[in-house]
Symmetry: D3
Subunit: 328 residues, 6 copies
Amino acid sequence: MYDVVAFGEGLVRLSPAHFQRLEQAGRVDLHIGGAELNVAVGVSRLGLRTAWVSKLPDNPLGRMIRNKAREQGVVTDHICWSEEGRAGLYFLELGATPRPTSVTYDRTGSAFCSLKPGEIDWETILGTAKCLHLTGITPAVSTSAAEATFEALEAARAQSCKVSLDLNYRAKLWDPESAGRTLGAMMPYVDILITTAGDTRTILGLTAADDAELAGVLAERYPCEVVAVTHREGASVWKCRWSGLVRAKGQTVTSKVYEVDIVDQVGRGDAFAAGFLAGYLPAEDIARGLDVGIAFSALKHSMPGDINWCDQRDVDALLAGPAPGVSR
Amino acid sequence: MYDVVAFGEGLVRLSPAHFQRLEQAGRVDLHIGGAELNVAVGVSRLGLRTAWVSKLPDNPLGRMIRNKAREQGVVTDHICWSEEGRAGLYFLELGATPRPTSVTYDRTGSAFCSLKPGEIDWETILGTAKCLHLTGITPAVSTSAAEATFEALEAARAQSCKVSLDLNYRAKLWDPESAGRTLGAMMPYVDILITTAGDTRTILGLTAADDAELAGVLAERYPCEVVAVTHREGASVWKCRWSGLVRAKGQTVTSKVYEVDIVDQVGRGDAFAAGFLAGYLPAEDIARGLDVGIAFSALKHSMPGDINWCDQRDVDALLAGPAPGVSR
Amino acid sequence: MYDVVAFGEGLVRLSPAHFQRLEQAGRVDLHIGGAELNVAVGVSRLGLRTAWVSKLPDNPLGRMIRNKAREQGVVTDHICWSEEGRAGLYFLELGATPRPTSVTYDRTGSAFCSLKPGEIDWETILGTAKCLHLTGITPAVSTSAAEATFEALEAARAQSCKVSLDLNYRAKLWDPESAGRTLGAMMPYVDILITTAGDTRTILGLTAADDAELAGVLAERYPCEVVAVTHREGASVWKCRWSGLVRAKGQTVTSKVYEVDIVDQVGRGDAFAAGFLAGYLPAEDIARGLDVGIAFSALKHSMPGDINWCDQRDVDALLAGPAPGVSR
Amino acid sequence: MYDVVAFGEGLVRLSPAHFQRLEQAGRVDLHIGGAELNVAVGVSRLGLRTAWVSKLPDNPLGRMIRNKAREQGVVTDHICWSEEGRAGLYFLELGATPRPTSVTYDRTGSAFCSLKPGEIDWETILGTAKCLHLTGITPAVSTSAAEATFEALEAARAQSCKVSLDLNYRAKLWDPESAGRTLGAMMPYVDILITTAGDTRTILGLTAADDAELAGVLAERYPCEVVAVTHREGASVWKCRWSGLVRAKGQTVTSKVYEVDIVDQVGRGDAFAAGFLAGYLPAEDIARGLDVGIAFSALKHSMPGDINWCDQRDVDALLAGPAPGVSR
Amino acid sequence: MYDVVAFGEGLVRLSPAHFQRLEQAGRVDLHIGGAELNVAVGVSRLGLRTAWVSKLPDNPLGRMIRNKAREQGVVTDHICWSEEGRAGLYFLELGATPRPTSVTYDRTGSAFCSLKPGEIDWETILGTAKCLHLTGITPAVSTSAAEATFEALEAARAQSCKVSLDLNYRAKLWDPESAGRTLGAMMPYVDILITTAGDTRTILGLTAADDAELAGVLAERYPCEVVAVTHREGASVWKCRWSGLVRAKGQTVTSKVYEVDIVDQVGRGDAFAAGFLAGYLPAEDIARGLDVGIAFSALKHSMPGDINWCDQRDVDALLAGPAPGVSR
Amino acid sequence: MYDVVAFGEGLVRLSPAHFQRLEQAGRVDLHIGGAELNVAVGVSRLGLRTAWVSKLPDNPLGRMIRNKAREQGVVTDHICWSEEGRAGLYFLELGATPRPTSVTYDRTGSAFCSLKPGEIDWETILGTAKCLHLTGITPAVSTSAAEATFEALEAARAQSCKVSLDLNYRAKLWDPESAGRTLGAMMPYVDILITTAGDTRTILGLTAADDAELAGVLAERYPCEVVAVTHREGASVWKCRWSGLVRAKGQTVTSKVYEVDIVDQVGRGDAFAAGFLAGYLPAEDIARGLDVGIAFSALKHSMPGDINWCDQRDVDALLAGPAPGVSR
């Protein structure tokens, strides 16, 4: 029934406008975020049937997160509602060179941290699903969430549902060693691996001359059918060059390189994952997955919030050729 | 050195504008709050030397709370800074009849909750202070905070520093029985008791025919030099009648009754405490304390945020007579 | 599968903040609205399975309307998407006595106006539905929409699906005579009639000594199982007394009268319809329907936008007794 | 060529939103104001040919004031532009009972203060004008502005142009004695006197049992053809009862009394003057002048800023009968 | 009496702030726009006597458009007011590379579309005017508007009033063939032609090696006294290089090239037309026209909205030499 | 007791958001500013004990300035409060290439302008201070302020307190000749000179082949222990290269060059002064002073307002190496 099922924590993001620092802010904008939720939203906007599985507190913030997933067409029927625990938050300060964009997590004690094996009916959810999407963040938030992640992996294997994993290292949640141990144990379950050179080095301890070689090393070492690597170039907070490559069936496909203006880069990796899955899953077309993934994530940089409000029309226009300054 | 030392948790308040509910809000205004902090700010704005003692996380939110206390002239040198724990938050939805204004606390796991005896140098702080102000909230947030409260009470007694207590029952933090046990044990230390009929009934189990009689009962049962009771009348969220009375030395003084338009009623009780202390402490003048307390708290209703941005000028103008529609 | 299916146009509402007039506004807030959509949202928030059937242009505004219905859990799978036509808009200026709140419609040429019989698969949609909700607005927007309305009525009759109708006279869309002719022809299909004394007089030409008598006259003249009449009292734009009554099975039930502060009264009638349906449909309990309807619509006045962001919790709290000023 | 020529200072008004005090504000809304400018705008919105004569600094703020007068159809060709001096400002804090709305003037050193006789070509401007409108504020801002006012009065007399004067006492600009001396000297030139009981007492030292008697006393003592007195009743900052009366040709006409909700009362007196002039001047119809004046000024209370954005349509609707809650 | 008379539709522009997409926006900023109105405003700000001729609905939006033209000193006395039809709107999403800025027109059924020959008294308006400014948009909005355009052209010819035309192709209003047919028929009336290489190719089917050659081809084929071509270089949405050239009397003058940061590029072509006319018309000085045109339009990029809020001072400062970072 | 005492005027800054020009703005953001106040805030945020000495009007704007200095930990006990005079204001329009950021001062008649010798107890304030910080702005605002400046210089000399001076030429306050005469007379008192090539040429009439040579010339001609010169490179309003050098003890140290994105460059020179003093004063370490000064001022460009909300943590992170795009 679902093309993609994403599993992970949903957060409320609070960010002051116009490059203000939190200390000086009199108000903050509210967005929703969370890597897996961002992927679910992106996949849904690109037209696939998508569910997001999570655990939320039954309070206005929890309902806000659920509502805004629903707004995007994501199925939220499988969320566990909890009387205990809080909604995870994160505070974001958008930077300008040389001040980096800065994230202050406030997710301790969240309802999601208390999620444990047995709370989610994976058999039903994954029974007819094509792909389960996970990231390296969920097993980092708590021991029980890590256990629930493995429960999901087992269920996916049992149901012949593909597993997609974005490594997504979070230094504020754990250290490289713990990440490597846990995520290393997850790798045998992974069909589609999405990563960057940095995360691969930090978590798996692997390096290579370039991303293509790195994808080769990963493809060799782990039983993934696809390895995708995204690449950001440039030191400016407001501009970068954005591209990616995919390794599959012994071949490497390299994307176009986009020059992007950065309004808000948070969620670009998630947008890549969403675009890749939406492009790849229907016909297992690697090149299409890469094209859609990089185009969709290049577009993500251009709007505020974690969510990519573009859709297939925008991706197609971008893939069709150079954009004029104004479309009218 | 200090006229008033207030001790308690500082919070960041997040509230959507213009009567929006949280679920529908795209942004929230940031204010600082916390009952004792509100009192400290009020007392400082009314011209007394004031310190606020608390424990904050060393992050942007913790610093924001400290900064905004400092902005008001409150001394913040005695704050404990913590590498652990979060800043307490609360979400506020302003209501309109028949929808009540609603508070969602998000203070679990705050740095303040971890405060325990021995972390604050009460001897130095209270050595030359006239009055220590507490509320019934601090002992409710955690066991160690309750212990730290008793440590402060002992120090105040040792230093011959008066103790002021606002009972302030919070149903979302504890139940009446726990509150009664703990706050009952605090009563022998209290010189100035500030309460309402509702809190007195809930916490201490005492009722009376009216507020005057209640103050008499309290004055009899506990060794307080002053008992002050505030009174709100009317069922509208946007309007009320506001007044108070004080019982001291066997006599009861009753205040004027103000008709008030309610912009934001949060912190009105704290404004009363601040006004009463600022009016009473200099010359132990009960009537002056009551006048300033009720006028200052009536004015509080007229501006957004927990903090009362009025000062002695505004109080004097209000006490001097009816205000014109526009002062120009 | 659906408890309620609502059918009608969705609009984007544009309103300047803080009582500004449009001519002076530099920005406007965006909300979604439309009487039947408002009902669908309310019913969904109160926990029933709800679909909203409409026709929208396939552009950002059309998608915005769909998204925000989805955000509330309303099923939007049956919307017709159109390459032609615009999204209906309406501009709203909130007033203050003696200036009335003012609506400027801008819905001419909307995609919905072009809706005609045959475009919607009523058989499937209503096959397992309990109730179809309509208003007097849909047949007023265009001839083809009126025809489509009768198509829906016939389908409902064929599927033994109840029909609920809110008369909702709109002077800017048609005149009393046309309204009377068209809505009069709809009355034989109606099971649940929702109206006011004013609309009944304008459209059906019926008057009575009071609302109770009026409900009796309506119940006698038309084959409705239920007649509900809401009542607003008071000339202030910012305050009113709000109540209602229901006539069914020969009996009249009268609601409590609420004093309400008005933040935004638009959609209160729709909130009543939603509350009544949510309270009535599960067990055909008239009194419950009336209680929930009037409470839910009284609460509607307290928040900006057409949509009532309250839910069953808020209704239950209001029905349980007087609200305190602050709930914390 | 002009029906009304208004002469006086234009100001930029800076006011924080939502009842904030200036000390707590992070931003302020900008409006233009100034009693005579407000009258000019009102008269123009009500359809008369109107010029506003003033002196402004040739900087962005001066141009903003000119632009916004022009926006309303007011002719600004006779403004003196100055390389010296600043734009007058005023800061406004909107209050809520018991805190009054408060004005902090910042007009010292303005370009207008330096205006002196000889700078304005009154002969041309008033040559074909029906009425020159002045207030008691202009002669208060500087000695040279007072001299320029008398120059204008002489020119009006020479051109047989009526003079309208709103006494408008400003305690922050001068004292009652100076005001009485200067405005007393202006009275012989005045054809249409607009005032309140308070201003009349303060400036002219006259009191009476009620407004009707006061108008009689004024009409007797001074050679005015019309004396108009407005009246505000009620102590709330958010609500009042608003009415007026006019004495002319030995008769007194009394207006309807409006219950008004107050969004922003600043400029209500100016709105009355504008409405009275617009209603009275075309046919010297006293009752029409009073009706339009009181209705137009009652409406003024309902929107933010000094300017009344209503027009003849709104006045006619109000005069036609009770307004519904929503006009749609 | 007028230096420039501009004729065309006025629109209200609605755009979300900070690069948001419409679907995610909770509010939109309001501006006025329309190519010919933008030119009229620019010409007026640069000091020429300017009228704007149009047709508007007599509702708040129509009046808003008129007001804001008036705010800029543009004469609006010749606008036709209509009881029928709506105000044209357009929704704007500001982009960031690689997402283009996107316009969604909502102008169908506007009052202006119904404009037809005979509604405007061209003889009076153009009798003493120097130049009539048109664009290729007006004849695209409706057949009757195209006819009214030819009526204006004939009137200009009869009154010896120059005609200025900006080709301005709008793909969402018509196709190249229709545009070529209609605009081709207008070319014999045109004295001053303003275009870009792209519009020239699309509409007139003409191309050349570069802009200079293109201007030569145009000057040869059509009887224009002046051909001006603007040029944008660079693929970034946030930055471009901006320049232009003019061909007249057999000679080509080339402008300076400006590096510009783009806040909002909408209306830059209109700003060029305004600057060119303001620089050229007084003394028919080609070089001055080009300098002012390119400088004024370079400045346009730097502020939000269609309108260029700069004036001659800003142009002179820019022409005088390199701007410092801060002028103080 | 103080590490740094800064002396100068405090201003309220009013600036429209998002690159709007003042004429088009409907609201302005409020910040505090003033060169010496900015330095005091920066020094305090970097951990030194700091006082700011000034004169302010006793009104809401004066108190706002004081409050916001206090918010940052700056001691404000030595401010003179005045019943006369206004708060100095300045209006700021943020530009985009080729439109420069533009400042409109409105400080005439400020309370600070009336400051004269004898009003400040310099002996007490500087008795135990390490450094008095001045700029070339204070002596420019009025003759009496210039005299008060020399009084402060004499007091610093008497108390063996170092003097730091930032030349800071302001063309809108005086001309080069007056500036040269007054600031030239201050130079013999200066220990730490902070300047730019432009200001040095304008005020002191000195030029050199490059900044290093210029610092040498200055160090030779005047008895300063340190000469610091900052350098901005690039013509874009949104981007620059930022660096500096220091000459002391016959040696020149040159900083790293930072590429910076400019959100708001106002106050960058003040941020350099603050960073230099904070880095240099503790151990008279030139290189540390330069590193901290350039890093702290590079960071200043990244946030709105005159104040640098960074602290030592941000400086250390920047000095430690290249910043990632997002820190999380």
